[in-house]
């Protein structure tokens, strides 16, 4: 296993780079889109609420692989550019990022919605009773408290996303699992390769988990007894 890693580490590291890059993009846009969907779902406007509900139901009710191919094959609607960026072919990486972001956003939206609703309604009422607008109350009173409910679950979603990005190998994007396949073909020795890949994923998620922990601890200052 050590031999294989020493001989082919550049493949694994390149794969890791792509995985991290795609994960970051996914998590970033998934979060933004998720916020949008969450607020639509919390909206009193029936149209917005209805759209967000259907969106979440559809995305959560279909496999990500199916979503990935559906987005990839939309070339009539979305002309994916046939250039490369940081060594990644955009006509394949872009649909991956879009599909994964959309998928992630549905889960993130539910996490945010439930996190906001878990904040005691008295907090918003107290804010409004002081004369704050709905927006001020949301921004300065409710959201800062909702973050504490949301963050652990979002962290979980990020960890899931890093692992789930492995399906982009099906579009030939050179992530960890795709390059894992290349090394297997070169060495005819699959088991150590999978061990190496597993360790890389694990390391990525441990680092991510630590980062989230630090952030959470900072937010919990006000809860300390």
């Amino acid at each position: 296993m050590v031999d294989i890693f020493l001989n082919y580490y550049d493949y694994f590291l390149a794969g890791a780079r792509t995985t991290v890059l795609i994960s970051l993009i996914t998590v970033f846009f998934g979060f933004i889109l998720g916020c949008l969907i969450a607020f639509m779902k919390l909206s009193k406007n029936k149209l917005l609420h209805g759209f967000a509900s259907i969106y979440v139901t559809v995305i959560r009710g279909t496999p990500m692989l199916v979503q990935l191919y559906i987005v990839y094959l939309q070339t009539d609607f979305i002309p994916y550019p046939e250039t490369t960026f940081l060594g990644v072919a955009l006509d394949r990486a872009l649909p991956c990022a879009i599909a994964l972001s959309i998928n992630s956003s549905a889960y993130v939206a539910e996490v945010i919605r439930s996190g906001i609703q878990a904040v005691d309604s008295g907090q918003g009422e107290a804010a409004r009773s002081l004369g704050m607008t709905q927006k001020q109350a949301m921004l300065h009173i409710i959201m800062p408290q909702a973050i504490k409910n949301i963050l652990p679950a979002i962290g979980n979603e990020f960890v899931t996303m890093i692992k789930e990005t492995s399906i982009i190998q099906y579009l030939g994007v050179g992530d960890i699992m795709y390059n894992n396949g290349i090394v297997i073909t070169a060495t005819y020795n699959p088991l150590p390769c999978y061990y190496i890949s597993a360790i890389i994923y694990l390391v990525l998620n441990i680092v991510l988990g630590k980062g989230i922990n630090i952030f959470e601890r900072r937010l919990q200052r006000s809860d300390r007894k």
Binding site: G122, A126, R128, S222
Partner: protein, 250 residues
């Protein structure tokens, strides 16, 4: 107070339903400047809903709430501006858990009224001294007792310089030994001339501090009058029944 009568709040035929449940069936009440009105009655009689309709935390279905001459339910009423003048204290305190005591008190004046930080803090400290909690300014609410939280909640409302204070069962969630310290602050406010509407189960307090007692039951005001009259010589059989139950406990 019999001279210079100035009506601060004038509620006319206020009605409110939650779904098919009609909670307020037509409430009329006038509150004069400087008056302390205690609202008593059994659970589910609509006391709290009535109070919450006065600053539209609950939206009235019909009727009028005229505050300082303006109907606050009107189409062009600026409810956020009105709420600045109506302080509210909740049963569950509702202090902002993520802010320090000082921030809890200053966030309203700075964010809503645009006061500068320093002025707001000075005022907050003065108010904190008044309720004996100036040493808690830097703490977070989770480190305070219930009684302390409620005194801070009162200070938070006072920091907006309201014209009237609404109290929604301010002592109902407190341990018995902490009720006194909160009532003390409220009595101090009343002596100071603050107009107050208090939904309460503290009959002794209502009797001592209120100028007027309102008894609500089933979505109506059944009886109102001076504490002596309502407690000493109630006319309505429902009032008599209610008072006999709450006053003659073992």
């Amino acid at each position: 107070m019999t001279e210079n009568k100035e009506v601060l709040i004038d509620v006319k035929n206020l009605k409110k339903s939650f779904g098919s449940l009609e909670v307020l069936k037509g409430i009329d009440l006038q509150v004069e400047k400087g008056e302390v009105v205690a609202i008593i009655g059994p659970s589910g009689s609509g006391k709290s809903t009535f109070l919450r309709c006065i600053n539209r935390l609950d939206e009235p279905d019909s009727g009028e709430v005229i505050f300082e001459g303006n109907d606050i339910c009107g189409k062009d009423a600026d409810i956020n501006a009105v709420r600045q003048k109506i302080g509210m204290v909740f049963q569950q305190f509702n202090l902002f858990n993520h802010l320090t005591i000082m921030e809890n008190i200053t966030i309203g004046p700075t964010m809503v009224k645009g006061e500068d930080e320093k002025t707001a803090q000075e005022k907050a400290l003065k108010l904190l001294k008044r309720v004996g909690l100036e040493d808690k300014a830097g703490e977070y609410p989770s480190r305070l007792s219930g009684g302390q939280k409620q005194r801070i909640a009162i200070v938070r409302a006072l920091a907006m310089d309201p014209d009237v204070m609404l109290f929604d069962e301010p002592t109902s969630a407190l341990d018995p030994e902490m009720v006194g310290e909160v009532l003390e602050v409220m009595k101090d406010l009343a002596d100071d001339g603050m107009t107050m509407l208090i939904v309460t189960h503290e009959m002794g307090f209502a009797q001592k501090v209120a100028n007027r007692v309102v008894f609500m039951d089933g979505g109506y005001i059944m009886e109102e009058g001076s504490p002596d009259k309502v407690f000493g010589n109630p006319e309505n059989p429902r009032t008599q029944d209610f008072l006999s139950k709450v006053l003659n406990t073992i």
